[in-house]
Amino acid sequence: MNKTIITVVGKDTVGIIAKVCTYLAENKINILDISQTIVQGYFNMMMIVDTNAMDKHFGQMADELKTLGESIGVDIKCQKEEIFDKMHRI
């Protein structure tokens, strides 16, 4: 398992999850967990995904998701899980 955390932050609009999930499906990225809230009109989503079966390398996925985010007006960030794990778990 190769876990990556994808965060999506931006103004709420129709189809954000659909677009992100389509990209993930096309690239053989498996979603393990999704949580999402709307705070003061702002869409805030976190996905935990497994990139093990993906053919692209990490940087390419991060760039493509960022571009996808820009096209729908949200900020999409990809980070390997370890940074959160290290910081919040002993």
Binding site: T7, M46, G59, M87
Partner: protein, 454 residues
């Protein structure tokens, strides 16, 4: 599994509170480059550093990208050049040629600083040590990225006052040599007492002779994160305050540990230490002085500052030590003036003097750092300031340092702009009374007694 709250907390630290890894520093031993032929020596040094560090910057950028954490600087530290060049260098120009080689390879591999143009003279100077020290003005004025440091004393050996006297003159000379750039050379020159072998921070980084052939040391930062955390416990007692700082320091240091382990694995170089530091930058919200204000002071320098800094420094260490498998370097809060907007504000408001800064250095990491003083300050006065700071380090068994910049052509009331991470600084007044006869005595101050502590 990680939850949304934790992810948001980490990312807010990075995006809003300037959490970053300040530096990955690759330490490289140059002892196996020693040669009596200066040209061969330079060639060997270039090759060894280039081969070891060619992937450093790219690896740093990859780690930064994958974890989403900025890694601000990638740097190199090398064996003190006085040891490496001793057999080959007969003139100051010979030593300066090594500085130029270091500068060239730093440009080639893309690191922004290379440290280790250094001499360790805490007890005495060899002819090579003295020659290197005398070459510092030439070396720093003819290079861009080379940093120089000199260890002048230690708790075990006392203080080498001959070298303290010489360094007062060398700092003035370096200021003169670089006066066209507001004496910038002095920002790349630091003197130490009890210099650590594994410090990743510039200008004082060098690769000690007790270290392995290559090593990865990482310096973390995060004053903004600590400030934000303690702003949430405003008005609470010291127990709550200290617990909050400790927990925050733990989180910040964990990121450093992760980056250090990753860099070590990817470069195939052993992991040395994480330096638990609060290193400010001139960016708004990235200030150690602001933490002191948040603790309850109107400005850094107000009564209570030394106590506030002492608790901050101690809690950062307590939180950080558990977060990392190996801790070393300088580890603590840095209090540079020009690199910290809150410090600059305190000086401009008249709240902070060199004397108060000296008191603060008794309880925190390093010492008098990035302080601009009038260009007409006498060399002996600079030596006196250095001697005071070295004495604090020697007696208290801690590292202390002086990085002071006599800005040629400028006086109190003017400001000096260094640019980038080095920031800008108002020129601070220096005590005008003479210490000539003290500095001119020559010789050594003996090591202090290690018992009867009062």
């Amino acid at each position: 599994m990680i939850n949304l709250f934790e992810v948001v907390e980490t990312n807010e630290m990075i995006t809003k509170e300037n959490l970053d890894v300040r530096t990955i520093t690759l330490g490289i031993s140059l002892l196996d480059c020693i040669d009596s032929d200066i040209q061969k020596l330079n060639e060997k040094i270039y090759k060894k550093i280039y081969d070891a560090a060619k992937d450093l910057v790219q690896t740093g950028e990859e780690i930064s990208r994958e974890f989403g954490i900025p890694i601000v600087n990638k740097r190199i530290s090398v064996t003190p050049i006085a040891l490496v060049g001793g057999a080959a260098c007969r003139t100051i120009e010979d030593f300066a040629s090594i500085a130029k080689t270091l500068d060239r390879v730093a440009h080639e591999v893309g690191v922004n600083f290379i440290g280790g143009y250094s001499a360790l003279v805490s007890k005495g100077m060899t002819p090579a040590d003295e020659l290197l020290i005398r070459s510092i003005p030439l070396a720093l004025s003819s290079t861009e990225r080379v940093c120089s440091s000199v260890n002048l004393g230690s708790t075990k050996t006392g203080i080498n006052m001959d070298a303290v006297k010489l360094m007062g003159e060398i700092i003035k000379e370096t200021a003169e040599y670089t006066k066209e750039q507001d004496s910038l050379g002095c920002a790349k020159l630091v003197v130490f007492c009890n210099a650590p072998d594994d410090n990743p921070f510039m200008a004082g980084a060098f690769h000690g002779v007790t270290e392995a052939d290559k090593i990865i040391n990482v310096g973390v930062s995060g004053p903004g994160v600590v400030k934000t955390a303690i702003s949430k416990v405003r008005g609470e007692n010291f127990e709550v305050l200290c617990e909050t700082i400790k927990k925050t320091a733990f989180k910040v240091t964990r990121v450093g540990q992760l980056v250090a382990q990753e860099a070590s694995a990817r470069l195939g170089v052993p992991f040395g230490i994480v330096d638990l530091s609060l290193a400010p930058t001139p960016a708004i919200g990235d200030s150690v002085a602001d933490i002191l204000c948040e603790i309850g002071l109107e400005y850094a320098g107000a009564p209570g500052t030394t106590a506030a800094l002492a608790l901050l420094n101690d809690q950062v260490k307590k939180g950080g030590v558990m977060a990392s498998s190996y801790v070393g370097g300088l580890s603590g809060a840095f209090i540079p003036v020009s690199e910290d907007q809150g410090m600059i504000n305190a000086v401009e408001a008249g709240a902070l003097s060199i004397e108060k800064l000296e008191a603060m250095t008794c309880v925190c990491s390093v010492g008098l750092d990035m302080i601009a003083i009038p260009g007409d300050t006498k060399a002996t006065t600079i030596s006196g300031i250095i001697a005071d700071e070295m004495a604090i380090g020697m007696v208290n068994q801690k590292t202390t340092a002086v990085r002071i910049i006599p800005v040629i052509g400028k006086g109190v009331g003017e400001t000096v702009e260094f640019g980038g991470l080095l920031g800008y600084a108002p020129i601070m007044p220096v005590n005008q009374f003479s210490c000539d006869d003290f500095v001119n005595r020559g010789g050594r101050i003996p090591a202090p007694i290690h018992s009867f502590k009062n």
